[in-house]
Assembly symmetry: none
DNA sequence: ATACATCAAACGTCTGATGTTTATGTTTTT
DNA sequence: AAAAACATAAACATCAGACGTTTGATGTAT
């Protein structure tokens, strides 16, 4: 994962080397979460680098949630670090003035595949669960007075449910990640119509219909986001 | 340097403190991508920590794509922005044990979207670059004696090129990650036919055709993998 | 104006030492 | 015997100083 395109530019840095070595270690040796990694001085000697380089590499791995460093104890393969990475990522989006077009394209990609997988793989029972959640959504939308916060929460719940029944854990966690990423900016009211359309297509196990609905849903959202983000704030 | 009276021993590590400080710097000072960050020794003195701690913090920030460290030059606010936000996630998935079917599905999802984006967004010049790479691939395939290692390398290069011309940096980053994941098990010979089909569809800007070719490509690969993993030994 | 040589600044790495925290085994107390 | 207190070693956290390597800029000769 080091530099994306490194023609022949330069030697790999010691730190990157260590990162790669540890990655290989995890994969090849089939190390499980909770397993202990050799202490810094040992690793330093084994890999022929200084302890400082080992530490920099470990800091990277720990910031990625790959390892967990326990002071006074040792460094372990992390067992549940996904939550840890979240904060820096959101910050990153804030600072870099996130490119929403790119993010939305990622979300669209994920969501299209999610509905395909759902329709192909989900059991009737799982679809029934979705249907029930949609009922709640309908109810919340029609509620008077309308409480958008509640509706947003159900919207989120529905999407999580979608991710859960893809029968692909990787895509589940990737999709959940995307959902969480967009959660703060969600507006269930705007997408309700397309959401409903998508749901009906899913229930009918109509892949093309569902995919189209997802595209509409994301496009509508994208357009709204553009407008709300470009009111040209002075100062 | 012995703090005699330290009631509440440092709750936060020096490195974490630095990370937070730099993050605040970015926000408060409204630093834009490309802006220069003070050199390590200066930061070290300003924040009252050693240069090593500064370096560890910078490594973390750079691993999230927040800053870009250029040796011999300086450290800058990265304009790469959020393109790497999925790397930690994929990283985690990788080490937490993923099964092959799921990985293939992820790759297929990525690749289908990549070809869609290419056909929609890539310029004629960028497609020409792909075409040239394909020529190399053709040549390598027909070479006698056949050198699979070379062919594999060109295959990989082609896929990287695909990622680069999607005009979506997040997807570029994700796709590269997936490519790297599969790189060790690549076999360009097996997929050559489907690869060629995909290429022709891309050059013709035929989205359905390209998507179909990608599906075939991944299915063929999946089947081959199944066979090589299940040598009819029901153990 | 271009090409090359030089130099200072900045990151990369190393060595070695000291501080702090944690886990663990041992001793003492109850 | 069980529980609490203590002692110790191992491991991470941090610091300090030094030297190496790369890069960008500057100046000079062509």
């Amino acid at each position: 994962m080091s530099d994306m395109f490194r023609i022949d530019s330069q030697r790999k840095s010691a730190v990157d080397t260590v990162v790669d070595k540890v990655k290989s270690l995890l994969i090849e040796k089939q190390l499980k979460p909770g397993d202990l990694i050799p202490p810094e001085p040992v690793l330093a000697e084994q890999l022929g680098v200084s302890r400082g380089s080992i530490r920099e590499a470990m800091k990277i791995l720990s910031s990625f949630g790959i390892v967990e460093i326990r002071r006074g104890d040792g460094t372990y393969i992390s067992n549940a670090g996904n939550q840890k990475i979240f904060d820096p990522l959101l910050f990153n989006i804030l600072v870099s003035g996130a490119d929403f077009r790119e993010l939305i394209e990622v979300r669209a990609m994920m969501e299209k595949e999610v509905v395909r997988l759902i329709i192909s793989n989900a059991s009737d029972e799982e679809l029934a669960g979705l249907d029930q959640c949609m009922d709640e959504f309908d109810l919340a939308e029609k509620q008077i007075p309308h409480n958008r916060e509640v509706a947003d929460k159900i919207d989120l719940k529905y999407h999580r449910l979608m991710g859960d029944i893809t029968h692909n854990r990787i895509i589940t966690s990737m999709y959940n990640f995307v959902i969480d990423l967009f959660a703060p900016t969600i507006n269930s009211d705007l997408g309700y119509k397309e959401h409903k359309k998508m749901h009906l297509a899913i229930m009918a196990r109509d892949i093309p219909g569902a995919v189209t609905a997802v595209e509409d849903h994301n496009n509508a959202w994208k357009k709204n986001k553009d407008e709300s983000l470009h009111p040209e704030t002075p100062s």
